[in-house]
Amino acid sequence: MERYRQIISDWDKFSYYCSQPLPKTLRVNTLKVSLDMMEKYFKKLGWSFKRFDFCLWGYEVQTGDEISRTLEHWLGYYYIQEATSFISVLALQPQPGEKILDLCAAPGGKTTFIAQIVNNKASIWANDIGFRRIRALMANIYRMGAVSVIVTGYNGLSFPQKFKFDKVLLDAPCSGEGNMRKDPRRVKGAELGFINNISGLQKGLIQRAIDVLNPGGILVYSTCTLAPEENEMVIDYVLRKRKVKVEDIDLNIPHSQGITEWNGEKFHPDLTKTMRIYPHHLNSGGGYIARLKKFG
């Protein structure tokens, strides 16, 4: 992580939070249960809880229990979800009636959150590759009661262009550096060789994601890594390759702006509209979110 010292202004705070355990956080699934009812369950379980400032459905809970081992979790009343991973879906602003693609959807936390926001009243397409990933995705869709979702197994790089969408979420495969609080091995940062390789995949995926958008459509690109090669450099690349512009993300969430320079390479000035989330912002993992609009 040391190589990010130059772009993370509050380095000491960042380092401190990286060394702390992650709080237990979850999303209440209002497709199945009301917030009031779930709060009653929390009390019954003896958990203390605090609602997120930025999202009605997000909770941090304090308990010695394993929060995945309850009947309420098994029934799909809540989904264990980290604060950072709420943001890409909120930035997408899904609306009832829209056609929405989640291109790399497994294990389904964001897909089912989209279904929840639109109250199962949109057409949601969840795609991923690999039998185990798709199996996990389907199980979560069924558990959460997301009847508005279909699942396919296309390679994202060759997703059929005959299908067009109003919105696309590309939560891209990444080096996962932002998960350093879940997995301490990640604290030292990912290998540069791996970062450069996966950056190529991300550039391919984002182009295909834009190609399946209707004109005027919205793409949200997100990762759970801090590497500029997987974040700003991917967006800067696609701004030159496709007719898209960066949009402001209309969310009141503590964050740092996307960077416009890295290792001497300058990027498009609009990248300041993108969001970097560091662990000290939300007491969470780290990540990156960009919202793009297709024109032409």
Partner: protein
């Protein structure tokens, strides 16, 4: 084999009669028949499903299995309907639930007609069972049964 329209109607009637679902609930959903499964979807998905052909792994949630001997409700479907189910619920205590999950069946005469039932625990619908001649059989799929067994020690 009836055509798909009449089979969907048969599924709806089955759920109304067997589980007491209200007729008006179908206004919110469509049932699509594919690969011997009746899938419960929202009406907005309908157009896509015909364009996508057989490339989809999953459409909404699997609601019923279409077996040669008839309609079998899925545990996912019964859990989804949850509190809408008013008939043929077998409410289990912890020991009965444990026995059912470990042994696959429990004995005990109940005032219920032979057929599929909704398994209840603590006021929640937790899946599908089959009741006949005083024996209740578990119909919760293996992976779900395993994960439910894992949380049993936490249940009270």
């Amino acid at each position: 084999m009836p055509d798909s329209k009449s089979l969907v109607e048969e599924i709806k009637k089955y759920f109304e009669k067997r589980f007491g679902l209200s007729r008006k609930i179908w206004g919110d959903y469509i049932i699509i028949l594919r690969n011997e499964i009746g899938w419960l979807i929202n009406p907005q998905l309908h157009d896509w499903i015909f364009n996508i052909g057989n490339k989809a792994y999953s459409l909404g949630i699997p609601f019923v299995r279409l077996l040669p001997k008839g309609i079998k409700p899925t545990s996912w479907g019964l859990i989804f309907m949850g509190r809408e189910i008013t008939r043929n619920i077998i409410e289990l205590g912890l020991e009965d639930l444990r026995g059912l999950l470990y042994r696959g069946r429990i004995k005990g005469s109940r005032d219920i007609e032979t057929g599929y039932v909704a398994l209840g625990y603590n006021g929640e619908i937790i899946g599908c069972g089959f009741y006949k001649d005083g024996v209740l059989e578990n119909q919760i799929p293996k992976a779900r049964r395993k994960s439910l067994l894992e949380i049993l020690p936490q249940l009270k």
